[in-house]
Amino acid sequence: MDMFLNAHFIGSLLQSTLRVTTPLLLVALGELYGERAGMINIGLDGIMTLGATVGFIVGYITVNPLLGLVIGAVAGSLINLIYAYSTITLRSGQIINGMALNILAPALSIFMFRQYFGVTTKLIQGTVIKPICVPVLSDIPIAGPVLFNQNPITYLAFVLAILTAIFFNKTKPGLDYRAVGEFPRAAETLGINVIRKKYIACMICGALAGLGGAYLNTCYIGTYAEGVVAGRGFIALSAVIFGGWRVRGLILATLLFGFTDAVQLRFQTILPVIPYQILAMLPYLSTIAALFIMRNSGLAPKANGVPYSREGH
């Protein structure tokens, strides 16, 4: 009996690890697509907030959370075009523009939410996408709930990660794409349209950040709250560094951060003696600790964050 309880505990802990890892992985993949083309975007957190809000509102109106996810991703992609235009075409600082998104996107989100629902303290419940529960298989101890009772978006995130790894390492377009972040001038002489690649990178990055945000309100929790993103964009950004700009590293990093979050959430219920605020610090502190232990900045794409101009100014 005790054994079963433990297995049950571990199984559900790992299951929730994957659940909280999902948005981190999606957003970190988005940032990877950005930084592989030399675009550092610290505005991920803001974009997630917009994705979360748009996703929720669309899901609520249409009673179709899947549509909410899609529109959330589109919104993220569109707002990131501001960052793209300002940094790529006007060649202004990436950090400053990321900061601007972190202020603009949440402001837009609150505006839209209040415009639709009014200024309310009432908790509004939306529809959520239910996990896919594979019969029989999901009853296997530990592995069952972890592998066969997950949200479809969780499966999507991991499939996307694998496809991304194949794209960057095994395909010609993937290698071209990486060249943009490493040696843009050389890439240009090889006939790669660097500017266009960078724009595409920003759109992918925005879409995945928006999707990760929308996941929070259409899959993870069904109610809307301001501040739901709670720094996940910055944790995802850290995961890219911690993961050494490699997909495998990214998966491990986000799983580690997800696990920390799942553990602290579990502890909040089983160890009420520890104030929950102290436990809630764990994901942030462990992220700093992880960055402290792994100094990976040498693995960054060489032209990361550097403005590009064809003429060489």
Binding site: N97, A100, I103, R114, G231, Q277, I288, L291, H313
Partner: protein
């Protein structure tokens, strides 16, 4: 005309045009939800300037923003982004609240003074963490300082709903009446904290532009490699700049606590750090410019509350306007730096002189 003077005019006009353009965008948003722009902005102005109370309230709102903006300016001038002013602000307020209300056995001006000093120190310690990790371990100071914001906020929540809780209400006990910063105008909340803010602004301005150390700090900010070659202790300089930046933010938190909120509660300090960075950028990274833009942001904030009550337009319109100002200011600065445009601007200046 000197080159410096021209640059100043250029920078001021960039900020001014960005602000006006963003206010126009705000007007478009207000009109698009079917409200009368003139009525809305009329209430906004009345809310910020309508009477002595409104004017005072604007200054109350400007005070913390001046501190966090100066914190951002100081770190930026040494080439670093302090995105953690919010956490440093909160840690400063926590220290001040704890010292003032719980620890010191006496009240009065000495209590006030000590609380401010300890608040600044606490902010400095919190700022030292990203500074040290950046200088000696190569960690990204932006990410570390941002993550520490969340830790500080949670720590504050732990205190006001735990060890420092006032009976059953999730807030700390208020500081003593004779410790509170003196109010300046009858019927208004404006307090002497604004003088502290202006004082820090003047000192920071003097330090950065009139002293040898300030010059060195800016050299590190402009070109750390060259500074290193020239024998400047770059790493030490980076850490000290981050510590001072944190101290300014921490002092701001202490002043906010002693002059305005009197206690810690949910939402204290929320958003002040990012706003400070935005203000610093629009203020062209000059302490005086930052001070002026902080006041403008406070005008928008205070006015927006009145606008929301009178017309139902949410205050988030003003948040959007603020964000758009940054985007415009950044874009405008970048456009002027583009080679083609730069040539035109230079020619225009020459033409004007002839």
């Amino acid at each position: 005309m000197g080159i410096r003077f021209k640059n100043t005019i250029l920078k001021v006009s960039i900020s001014a045009i960005s602000i006006l353009a963003a206010i126009l965008i705000g007007a478009i948003i207000i009109a698009s939800v079917g409200e009368n722009v003139f009525v809305a902005y009329g209430f906004l102005l009345r809310g910020a300037f309508g009477n002595a109370r409104a004017i005072g309230e604007t200054i109350v709102k400007a005070t913390p923003l001046i501190f966090t903006a100066l914190a951002a300016v100081f770190a930026y001038r040494c080439g670093m982004f302090n995105l953690g002013a919010e956490g440093q602000f909160i840690m400063g307020a926590i220290a001040a609240s704890w010292i003032s209300a719980t620890l010191l056995p006496f009240g009065g001006w000495l209590n006030t003074l000590l609380s401010m000093i300890i608040g600044a120190l606490a902010g400095g310690v919190w700022g030292a963490i990203p500074g040290l990790l950046k200088a000696y371990r190569g960690l990204n100071e932006m990410i570390v300082s941002i993550l520490l914001n969340y830790v500080a906020t949670l720590f504050m929540a732990f205190l006001y709903s735990g060890p420092l809780m006032e009976k059953n209400i999730p807030q700390t006990v208020a500081i003593f009446d004779d410790v509170k910063l003196t109010r300046l105008i009858e019927g208004s909340r404006v307090h002497t904290g604004i003088f502290v803010a202006i004082g820090v602004m003047i000192v920071a301005s003097y330090f950065l532009f009139k002293t040898a150390k300030g010059y060195q700090l800016r050299v590190v900010g402009l070109n750390p490699t060259a500074a290193n070659v020239n024998g400047l202790a770059v790493k030490k300089m980076m850490v000290s700049a981050f510590v001072v930046s944190g101290m300014i933010a921490g002092l701001g938190g202490a002043v906010e606590l002693l002059g305005s909120s009197y206690r810690l509660m949910a939402g204290f300090g929320l958003g002040f750090g990012f706003d400070g960075v935005a203000i610093a950028l629009i203020g062209q990274l000059h302490p005086i410019g930052a001070g002026l833009v902080a006041y403008l942001f406070a005008v928008l904030r205070t006015g927006a509350n009145t606008m929301q009550i009178a017309t139902g337009i949410t205050t988030s319109v003003v948040d959007i306007v603020q964000a758009v100002i940054i985007i415009f200011a950044v874009a405008a600065t970048a456009i002027i730096a583009l080679p083609g445009v730069k040539a035109i601007v230079n020619r225009k200046w020459k033409g004007a002189e002839q």
